[in-house]
Amino acid sequence: MVGAACAYYAGLAGLSVTVVDRGSVAGGTTGSGEGNILVSDKEPGPELDLALLSAGLWRELAAEVSGFEYEPKGGLVVAGSPSNLTGLRSFAAGQARAGVVAEEVSDLLALEPALAPGLAGGVHYPQDAQVQPMLAAARLLQAARTRFGARVRTGVTVTGLLRSGSGQVVGARTSQGDLGADAVVNAAGTWGGSVADLAGVSVPVLPRRGFILVTEPLPPVIRHKVYAADYVANVASSAAGLETSVVVEGTPSGTVLIGASRERVGFDRTMSLPVLRRLAAQAVALFPFLRDVAAMRAYCGFRPYCPDHLPVIGPDPRAPGLLHACGHEGAGIGLAAATGHLLAQTLTGTPPDLDLAPFRPTRFQSAR
């Protein structure tokens, strides 16, 4: 998705773009996502600023590109206990000072009638939205091709980067020939570290596995993206073991998506019943009607994360001509629009709308 957004915005800015993907469209983590566009789960800081910018851009893309089930449905974060609610309240207050619209909810069941009774309370975030991530990536690439003349080469692997005598990156070597370019953008997500290695630079992106359980199609029941207040703590955690927190939402096709889990197991794709059992149990605790609903399938994907849980965005001074746009850990869909926009500004010499210093690729090492 980040790559698709970079291609779209670069094309929009008048640049000649070629997208190279060793797989198919949305074949990486993009196809394993839920389609989240969230401001609700981010504490004040550079990532939240990026998320706010991106949420607005996605709304524009829904109108200008369209065709990807954009739903400005809003998010509802619920707190099970009074102490959870206290924590949630102060978290939301901090977010509100940073520009997030956060409304405490006095009557949860009025907003979500199918919720289990007895929850302590919740906060509604109207700025949260959802897209169908595979459709969104495909539509952005389609728009980049048909409107801006971008070329999209799937099934082509980048095997090296072309360097000039002075060390400037001047293109990519691929499994189907060399491509000269004024700039190369590494938007390889969870595999961004490997692409960086081709330039001899380190970008420490590691995988964090997540599962999603998909129910049979149902009539519309769940109105928002609903999740528990402990989701935010899990996102920010560096624990290696299994962490799960409940996230439940419906889709236009009627299926209900149930997440969320986080594990550091490398790139292991083995289906994990213990994880799915936990996801199911947590979802039923939040929405009791799900007890009688069939789970249709489950899928997993690998979130790309950096040690400080911030993405890598911007030019790499260690390899001039190479820029990175990867490492968005579980927020890649939501942050893609802003990333693409900021990358395009950088590529055309326009001062980016957000300071990219917090996302610089060189932040992980001591100065040389």
Binding site: A114, P217, L218, P252
Partner: protein, 85 residues
């Protein structure tokens, strides 16, 4: 045994005994129906895709391709369940 009838969205459908509801619908030329803003219907035929869900004698979410038709079955494409809404 001779053919019997079931109804689908109020229309009579003739059924050769032993066929599933999905097979009976297919024989009657019915393979898709409106569902929300899209459509549902017969796709995999083996109970995996959940596309052929119908309401059978008041019970919602039944996969038509997995259930043998019985004389007098009332089958509708309109879901009759939806907790809370």
């Amino acid at each position: 045994m001779s053919p019997f009838e079931i109804s689908f969205d109020g229309r009579p459908v003739s059924v050769v005994p032993g066929r599933t509801i999905a097979a009976a619908l297919l024989s009657a030329g019915i393979r898709a129906w409106p569902s929300g803003t899209s459509s549902a219907g017969l796709y995999c035929g083996i109970g995996v895709c959940f596309g052929c869900q119908v309401t059978l004698n008041g019970r919602a979410g039944v996969r038509a391709c997995l259930v043998e038709a019985r004389a007098g079955d009332v089958v509708t494409s309109v879901p009759s369940r939806g907790a809370g809404s």
